[in-house]
Amino acid sequence: MADNNVYIRKIILSVLGFLLLIFSGISFYKHRHLEEHVVLGEGVTEVKKLSDYFDGVKGTINDCNIYILEGKEPGATLFVMGASHPEEPAGRLAPWIFVENGVMEKGRLIVVLSANRSGTTVTRLGGGYPPDYTIPTGWGEQKFRMGDRWANPLDQWPDPEVYIHYPSRQNLAYVDIRNLNRAWPGRPNGTLTEKTCYAFMELIRKEKVDIFIDLHEAELQYPVISTIVAHEKGHELAAVVSMVLTDMGEFNMGMEYSPKSLHGLSHREVGDFSDAISLLFEAPEPFLDATRGKTTREQLLTGKDEFIVKAGEHGLLFEKIDENGWPIDVRVGRHTSAVLMTMEIWTEEHPDMSLVCINVPGYAEVIENGIGYYLKDPFRANPERVIIE
């Protein structure tokens, strides 16, 4: 009789465990396979794949789309990269607005929305992160995959004890072997992440990119925030962009030098291993702060968090925060404005190699109308102009 009870108990507990497995498994599977639609704006003249530049990423999850906006008149080539860190959504939504709205009058714009595409299919393991987030639009809601700082361990495994960066041989944290922004310039026979970086380097070299911009977000407890990190080739450009943005009074934008001894990061290696000027933009994202309260979609999108406000009262932050938080529109607006300003300043200094982009909203417009205003309805668009990201 007692034995029977034990068996029944084991079965009940196992069924409960099995249900947990099923529900969590479905959630993880749906997240990894969530299809995001991109409606190509009239400015997009061609969509390529990353493997067009390096065969080694063909057939892998990181063979992302490359959106090319060829200008009506020739000029310089600017490459804007999103989702180097897919847990930083403003770094992905800002370039999304360029692809769906931007038109290049002069010069050429290359845009990537999922640089570490593998990292867009997973959230931090054991972190209880939301798998997705939705942006309200005039035609309904658009859902996006929330991602992680690192590539999905299902796509790249194992992690070493210590990650030795190639080619500098600098020792980095083991997990950063899956961090796209620690694997530059990559190598053709390396890990998936290194191959992905190598493919982007090939793109930069083959397309003769003049300026490369890597879009990020940072926690408020991290000193590199609300700033442009610039390779020495881009010091002058970044300094003027940061000065003009700050002087215009819309928002503060700092400028920092890319350290020469810090390897694997795009602002260092892209500049060192190609002719391009490499810049990295950081916006504030309270969701990334370790002292945050609830890890929810709401916190991700509003950037409101009383615990981080408290940390600020104790002087622990490198960026201000109040009860208004850091809404996603503000963070995306910072990025669109900063990219547009980079084009403007560059064009003033290089009139023979201009970059002129129209139809992309700046800081004030994004905040006034919301991001959703600039996202197009994929179900009412010409199906030939809709791409799965």
């Binding site: 108990r9 084991k10 409960l16 465990g17 497995l21 969590s24 495994w157 194992p158 890990t191």
Partner: protein, 54 residues
């Protein structure tokens, strides 16, 4: 290096499967409900990785 990583990955998945089997075996053998619950909770991430869900 890629070949080495592939070999380690295969060994890793075999270890995950082996550990999952051991956990299930212990789950069947144990007599206390606390341990049963614990084995099930510990088993979940192993199965999620084995089935390549997370």
């Amino acid at each position: 290096m890629n070949i080495l990583m592939s070999i380690i990955t295969v060994i890793y998945y075999l270890l995950v499967a082996y550990t999952a089997v051991i956990l299930i075996y212990n789950l069947i053998k144990t007599k206390t409900w606390e341990k049963e619950a614990l084995y099930i909770i510990v088993l979940l991430p192993f199965l999620l990785r084995l089935f390549r869900l997370k």
